[in-house]
Symmetry: C2
Subunit: 353 residues, 2 copies
């Protein structure tokens, strides 16, 4: 531990982060206990409810539920603003909803879960129990996310959401190694510190080269697609006012490739699931020389080891690793280059709309 | 008819278009007959299979199937490149697939339907029966799209796909007025000519003002979301090499709004379904004055009448109208301003990848 802490991570509280990790393990147990109760009571479908960043964050769990789940498991990622105008035809009083809100006040989420609760739907929220969303969900259905000492990434939220979803899968016989997964990731926070340290120079290099670029392309897919959107939209658009284009590695060849030309930064996130074949195809094209574009960066989660983790669990932690690399580290270095404080907003929460 | 043809539509064969419309009515009957057979045989789920532009085009039908369908109807829009690496856990030998390929050769689609056919899945294709995709699907399962006299929009494909999907809904008791819909839209091609004529000056104005802009934002949702992607990605990115940002009216407030500033063209597509409330919210924000951006264009399908069409059918034709306005008309005027031929590609079909 002391060895680990010797190397600096810019603007990062390493001790606090490890303490948060210990707390997350405990809070994860609470998430699993909620899932145990749901599994015992029964459910017809699982809904993951978000808006903006929380929608992006829950996408990785939708991916896992579909990947590991049996064919009769229904799991839907729904957008609160869309739900509020259209509802969802598969939601019944036997359904279960997982949502999240850091602020505890997100208006679209609050409206959605109020409707859902009126219909008798069970709603669980990763939020502070005393906030409006916590109150609407019911304090007994809330799990407070660990206090955020240092990380600007979403790995804590990913962990907790996964504890809930994977535990449901466990009870369906679809994820029998749940306990092994929880124990093997108990010390992952230390690995994620090491990964940060290793990535620090690359994060700085990416920011120095590209933070001032007028337009940057981000390509991802599979388990990393939600994090790709989150970084490009909720970090770079919202917090840095940068023009970005995010596209899946599947769709890249159907339009967006024509925008690649010398001087356009293209950042490819390579994952560790079946979609990697599509990422590889994009990488081969970008590096073939036909575009003349030298500003291609590949960030491959497979290059970052997690000690003692079974290979079959890598896909689950791949978005945790990516969020550490980009939403936490790259964004901090962007801030130092753009001199644009990540907290500034032009309009969001500044005006009613 | 003669009256109608007096006004010019730039680079457009009005007579040929009306002839295509007559042909579409006949081909639509064939689509309905295929759906009749499927309904009689039974099916467990409907898959709409596309890649790039065809994926975007089929999205409107996914929307209709979910909107009108009973809660037990399963309809999934799937991306061929993704299917080829991940499959789909809900597809069985009782499933039915609808796909499309203008060229008849799209490699991702060909690979996907070859796998599907091997698994005994019924595949129907809007494509030429003699092409590789037509051969793989089986000529008896193919419907050739009407020859394209004039229109650069997707309304013909939308019409045929809808004939198939809405007919399935009809047999489920979810769209009892199928026949009325088909008869009421029999003459829609003439209305769509009138709509073109009315929109011609606006298409020219949009192109003159914004075709050279370095970055343009497109906002849409609901039944229009697929067409929004199609225009921004498959037309402006692929065929005009323009940098675009497309975002749903639901997600706009969660990041992208921060990019709105004076000089950034923002084009909002307003639809006629329950998502219109979200479009209205975006419009109110854009016109509130807080952004200082005067380059806001609203294209509202509700402003374009279709004679003799029941109000309940408007949602179905709303993407037909939008594709006429933008994918057909605006793109033609972009070409005249950018001097960039819509047929040029930097990389697509130029290189193996």
């Amino acid at each position: 531990m002391e060895e680990t802490e010797k190397v600096e991570i810019m603007n990062f509280d390493q001790k606090g982060y490890l303490k948060d990790g210990e707390e997350l393990y405990k809070v994860g147990k609470k998430m699993a206990a909620l899932a145990d109760k749901v599994a015992e009571e029964g459910y017809d479908a699982v809904f993951l409810l978000g808006v903006g960043g929380t929608w992006d964050e829950l996408m990785q769990l939708e991916y896992m539920m579909n990947k590991f789940g049996d064919k009769d498991l229904e799991c839907y990622l729904i957008h609160a603003a869309e739900y509020n105008v259209s509802g969802h035809k598969r939601m019944t009083e036997k359904s279960v909803v997982l949502t999240a809100s850091d602020s505890g006040t997100t208006p679209e989420i609050l409206q959605a879960i109020t409707t859902m609760k009126e219909q008798g739907v069970r709603v669980f929220a990763m939020t502070k129990p005393e906030g409006p969303i916590g109150q609407a969900a019911g304090a007994e259905n809330c799990v407070q996310m660990a206090s955020d000492h240092g990380s600007g990434g979403c790995e804590g939220g990913y962990y907790l959401a996964d504890c809930f979803g994977l535990r449901l899968l466990y009870h369906r016989g679809c994820f029998p190694k749940y306990d092994a997964f929880i124990e093997q990731t108990r010390g992952i926070w230390s690995d994620l510190l090491d990964i940060r340290k290793r990535f620090e120079p690359k994060a700085e290099e990416i920011a120095k080269k590209y933070a001032l670029a007028p337009y940057t392309m981000f390509i991802g897919g599979g388990a990393l697609w939600g994090e790709t959107i989150l970084f490009a939209m909720c970090i770079l658009e919202e917090m840095q006012w940068k023009r970005t284009r995010y596209v899946t590695s599947a769709d890249f060849f159907h339009g967006t490739l024509e925008l690649v030309e010398p001087g356009v930064p293209v950042i490819l996130f390579k994952g560790e699931d079946e979609y990697r074949a599509l990422d590889n195809r994009v990488e081969a094209f970008l590096k073939s020389g036909v575009t003349g574009d030298d500003d291609v960066v590949v960030i491959d989660t497979a290059e970052y080891a997690i000690e003692g983790l079974d290979p079959e669990f890598r896909v689950i932690v791949s978005p945790w690793i990516l969020t550490v690399l980009v939403t936490d580290r790259v964004s901090r270095y962007y801030e130092t280059v753009t001199k644009h404080n990540l907290q500034y907003r032009r309009y969001y929460h500044q005006f009613d709309y």
